[in-house]
């Protein structure tokens, strides 16, 4: 007869789970409210979600650095805390974008908000663990919720996007599981730190198998981060999702992916497995360059931003490849700055969303022509959008310039001068497509009949969020230093 399993509550250390529990309980709460009283307004759910995320953020700050818990699968290190802060900040900025002045179908369902909170919890699990299985659970929870959120936009293209993303995501999940299996076969463990330990003790005896495992992992993470050649779903999915959600997708799933990539690849890079570094080097350069070149020929601003975000992801992946503390800290700095700017840019698209008006041949929602002559009609809007574009292009002193500066500096400091030059040239290439939008807004005349559609969707909350993003984009230089201190302390504390 088996002994009854007894686990003391103390050893579970449930405090490590608190942030995710807040999100999950909050989501269930929203569902319960809907059961009790139907047809409550979206404003209620939006504000409830913001409050839940706020409590969640408080719980994150309450966590102790270096804690492990829940059968030791949870790992609260600096990376986990930092990335959860990014995820929650982005989510808190995203959810109020639901308060549009036009009515959009998806926000009338409370399920939207519940799913959203489940997704946030999923991402939080993903970053706060070094157990391959828990990472997988987090990844799938988040992804499944995200597919549904995309489909809820309820247009033909949204369904296409959701299905496409789902199929691709399933493939990536398959790769991930295969990779994890190989590592388990090699070492008998699914804990990353144990895998690293056993591999380095054995001196990477079975290199072929390690190669296979890493290849699977690169493919799986490549899908999530939309690295070339696993990027093909990105533009279509972004196009099908609402602009706000596309902006969210370009920031949050990626930071979760970066953290996982950092955990998985860093242990190999630090054990001098040279070819992992080489493979990543090639992937980084190809992702940056190819995405930039494809972005040059896009006719739709949203698709352009999709390719641009692929290119930015490639840029940041370089930091993981370099692998120094400075590089990893620069990654977080870059992504925090990118968060505000990119979300701001997508929010501007969201503001200009117009259900009835069809532009050009009607193929795209946001073709460049739509923004022609915006300076004459909406000068403030045009200047704001131009600020975001200049910042994305890396024109100083706007926010992303500082991110680029730190990553390029990290590259230079580790003797990757060629890589730094490639980054510089890519920034110059990318300037062209960002300028293209500025050219349309400032240098062209308004299109026929000059329909003033630009700000149709604007409401006070949206304007506030955009104003907030503009403020951080313009005055980023003042925030860089304190942010850098904070980030590098946390990154250093977790040993990356």
């Amino acid at each position: 007869m088996l002994e009854p399993i007894s686990v003391s509550m103390e050893s579970l250390n449930l405090g490590t789970l608190a942030p995710m529990l807040v999100a999950i309980v909050g989501a269930l709460g929203i569902l319960v409210i809907d059961l009790i009283k139907k047809d409550l307004d979206k404003t209620l759910y939006v504000m409830l979600s913001v409050l839940i995320l706020f409590v969640d953020l408080g719980a994150v700050f309450g966590q102790r650095l270096g804690d492990r818990g829940f059968f030791d699968v949870m790992l609260i290190d600096g990376l986990a805390i930092l990335s959860q802060i990014v995820i929650l900040a982005a989510s808190m900025l995203f959810i109020p974008l639901a308060l549009t002045s036009r009515r959009f179908h998806e926000y009338s369902y409370p399920e939207f908000f519940a799913l959203f909170l489940f997704m946030v919890a999923g991402f939080q699990f993903m970053v706060a663990s070094d157990n391959l299985i828990l990472i997988f659970v987090g990844l799938e929870t988040a992804s499944l919720a995200l597919y549904t959120l995309i489909a809820l936009h309820n247009r033909e293209r949204s369904f296409e996007a959701a299905i496409k993303y789902f199929v691709m995501g399933a493939l990536a999940a398959g790769f991930y599981v295969m990779g994890a299996m190989v590592f388990y076969a090699l070492t008998g463990s699914v804990e990353l730190y144990k895998i690293a330990e056993i591999l380095s003790v054995s001196g990477f005896a079975n290199m072929t198998l390690v190669l296979v495992g890493v290849s699977f992992m690169i493919a799986a993470i490549g899908f999530k981060l939309s690295m070339v050649p696993f990027h093909t779903w990105t533009p279509d999915v972004y196009e099908g999702a609402s602009a706000a959600l596309a902006g969210y997708m370009s920031v949050v799933p990626k930071i979760a992916g970066f953290v996982v990539a950092m955990r998985v690849f860093e242990l190999l890079i630090h054990s001098d497995v040279v070819w992992v570094r080489d493979v990543l080097y090639v992937a980084v350069v190809v992702t940056m360059t190819l995405a930039n070149i494809i972005a040059l020929v896009q006719r739709d601003v949203k698709r352009m931003l999709a390719f641009s975000s692929i290119s930015h992801a490639g840029f940041v992946m370089a930091a993981i490849m370099i692998g120094t503390t400075q590089a990893n800290s620069a990654l977080f700095l870059y992504w925090i700055l990118f968060l505000f700017t990119n979300l701001g840019a997508f929010a501007m698209l969201w503001v200009s969303r117009h259900k009835a008006a069809v532009w050009g041949d009607g193929r795209f929602d946001h073709p460049y022509e739509k923004f022609a002559g915006m300076i004459h009609i909406m000068p403030v809007g045009a200047v704001v959008m131009a600020l975001f574009m200049l910042s994305l292009a890396g024109v100083p002193p706007f926010s992303l310039f500082w991110g680029k500066l730190y990553i390029m500096s990290a590259a230079v400091n580790s003797d990757y001068i060629i890589l730094a030059l490639i980054m510089a040239i890519n920034s110059a290439i990318s300037a062209y497509y960002y300028l293209k939008l500025i050219v349309y807004m400032f240098l062209k005349d308004p299109s026929e009949s000059g329909r003033t559609v630009y700000m149709k969707n604007a409401s006070k909350p949206l304007q506030t969020i955009i104003g907030f993003s503009v403020f951080l984009t313009v005055f980023a230089v003042l925030a860089v230093d304190p942010m850098w201190e904070f980030i590098s302390t946390y990154v250093q504390a977790s040993g990356f």
């Binding site: 510089a424 400032f442 230089v477 860089v480």
Partner: protein
């Protein structure tokens, strides 16, 4: 006033922001008043500047990102002082003569922002701050060329932006490497240019870094073979855009050469004298020939501008006090003369909406006052003694004569070639009979145009006859720069090429 440099930098920007509130009818007066105040502030700077002290004055330091050594670090010396005054002066003159009617408010606001970036570049002593203003200056110029330019304006504006942006990103990588080397040597991060000057680097580092900086700066100058963006930018830009571009923005490149690579990498600079001199010679002679072949007045002046910039680069790379002082002075005179010439072309373009020389002829009869000023400025551009250009051109070439006789004689042909294309321009458009009916009834210069242009003539002649008040502070700073470079240089070759006169003077 301790913060006069900060005031100089940010006053136009703040004024530009407030300018959004000013009504359309009064915006012109607003712009001129702001530019005038800024100009008088810069004169005050000159007045309180100690011309006998060679180092940085009015220094302001405020750490921006202390952990990475980036600070808000401003200062001015004899080299930058007059370029700052040139920027404020040209902006003021340009605003007075501004003839644009369309969207005049946007134009004036962007000009004021442009003024901030121009002054900012010339007074920043932190590499990152320098870079910030350097890049930021592209944005208003992009808008000015792209929104008010000619038919190909969008193409020209984007070409201008991308060329400079790509070049300066390479310079940024150079800056990061430099900062890292500084960190390795001292254990502290710093982007301060004056600190970097004190770092002595091995030769191979010097050469690579020199190339990185040189590419970024050369595209702006623009050096051959990176000059192709300039004719488009000038050809398409509105008058005010060309004036500012030629008078001030190009000077950023040559000023950068004096401020960054020369004192930072003296050995590499000496090593690179001949390659750079050959490029400059090609630039001087080739673009002068191209200028002669142009049919469009503005293109002639644009190419002549490139040709003269070649002389400036040559003077800079003479590496001796005469050459560098001459090239700095030539920057000023070129700013004023080419600014005036572009303005003059703008005057005739406003009246006839064409710049083709074949459309004119006999303008001297129809517009005598216009022809007088044009004549003076053409002479100044050619380098006639008693005009400002003569002083600068002569000193630059005299400086380089110590490096290479043949090259200097070849470069001296720029004066002859300049006379060929400028005088033929003058002959074709101003002498002879009035062929076109339209040209007979052309209005001569009006009040604001006369005022702007006569001021420029006055300055050209004044500083041509008596350049001392400007030349002396420049010379003081340049001499200390050269003797610093001499002390810093490691190789004997560099030490023998960089010959300071200060030592001689101290011995007396």
């Amino acid at each position: 006033m301790d913060h006069i440099l900060s005031v100089l930098v940010f006053f136009p920007a703040v004024a530009g922001l407030l300018g959004f509130v000013v009504s359309k009818e009064s915006i012109r007066a607003y712009g001129i008043s702001v530019a005038a105040i800024e100009f008088f502030l810069s004169l005050w700077l000159w007045f309180s500047f100690d011309g006998s002290y060679p180092g940085m004055q009015f220094v302001e330091v405020l750490p921006l990102i202390p952990s990475f050594g980036i600070s808000y670090y401003l200062g001015v010396d004899g080299i930058s002082l007059f370029i700052v005054i040139l920027s404020t002066f040209i902006t003021l003159i340009g605003l007075i003569a501004l003839s644009i009617e369309k969207d005049v408010k946007n134009m004036i606001v962007s000009l004021l922002f442009l003024e901030m970036t121009m002054v900012g570049v010339f007074v920043s002593l932190d590499a990152i701050l320098f870079y910030v203003f350097w890049e930021l200056s592209l944005v208003p110029m992009l808008y000015i060329i792209g929104a008010w330019g000619g038919e190909l304006r969008v193409y020209a504006a984007i070409k201008f932006f991308l060329y400079t942006f790509a070049g300066s990103l390479i310079m940024l990588v150079g800056m990061l490497v430099m900062a890292y080397l500084y960190y390795q040597a001292t254990g502290v991060w710093s982007f301060s240019i004056t600190e970097w000057h004190r770092l002595i680097l091995p030769m191979n580092y010097q050469i690579w870094l020199f190339i990185a900086f040189f590419i970024g700066l050369a595209i702006k100058v623009p050096m051959f073979p990176f000059h192709t963006w300039l004719p488009y930018a000038h050809g398409q830009a509105p008058t005010i855009g060309s004036v500012i571009l030629a008078a001030v923005l190009l000077k950023m490149g040559t000023y950068g050469l004096v401020r960054l690579p020369l004192p930072m990498f003296p050995d590499a600079s000496v090593y690179m004298i001949y390659p750079v001199a050959v490029l400059s010679l090609i630039m001087i002679i080739y673009t002068a020939m191209v200028a002669y072949a142009q049919k469009d007045m503005k293109q002639v002046i644009a190419y002549s501008s490139v040709s003269h910039m070649g002389v400036i680069v040559l003077g800079t790379f003479a590496m001796n006090p005469e050459g560098i002082t001459g090239s700095v002075f030539f920057m000023l005179s070129h700013g004023i003369v080419s600014g005036a010439l572009f303005m003059l072309v703008g005057v005739i373009y406003d009246r006839r909406h064409t710049k083709l020389m074949s459309e004119f002829g006999g303008l001297a009869k129809a517009m005598p006052r216009y022809a007088t000023i044009m004549g003076i400025m053409v002479m100044a551009s050619v380098g006639l003694p008693l005009t400002m250009s003569f002083v600068g051109e002569f000193l630059s070439l005299a400086g380089f004569y110590q490096i290479s006789h043949t090259m200097t004689i070849l470069a001296g042909s720029s004066i002859i070639l300049g006379a060929v294309y400028m005088l033929s321009l003058y002959k074709k458009s101003f002498f002879g009979d009035v062929v076109h009916e339209k040209n007979k009834k052309l209005k001569d210069l009006d009040g604001k145009e006369s005022m702007a242009l006569w001021t420029l003539v006055l300055v050209t002649v004044w500083l041509g006859v008596y350049p001392k008040p400007v030349l002396e502070p420049i010379n003081t700073s340049v001499e200390s720069l050269v003797s610093f470079m001499h002390k810093k240089a490691m190789t004997d070759e560099a030490k023998s090429v960089i010959r300071p006169t200060v030592i001689k003077r101290e011995a007396e």
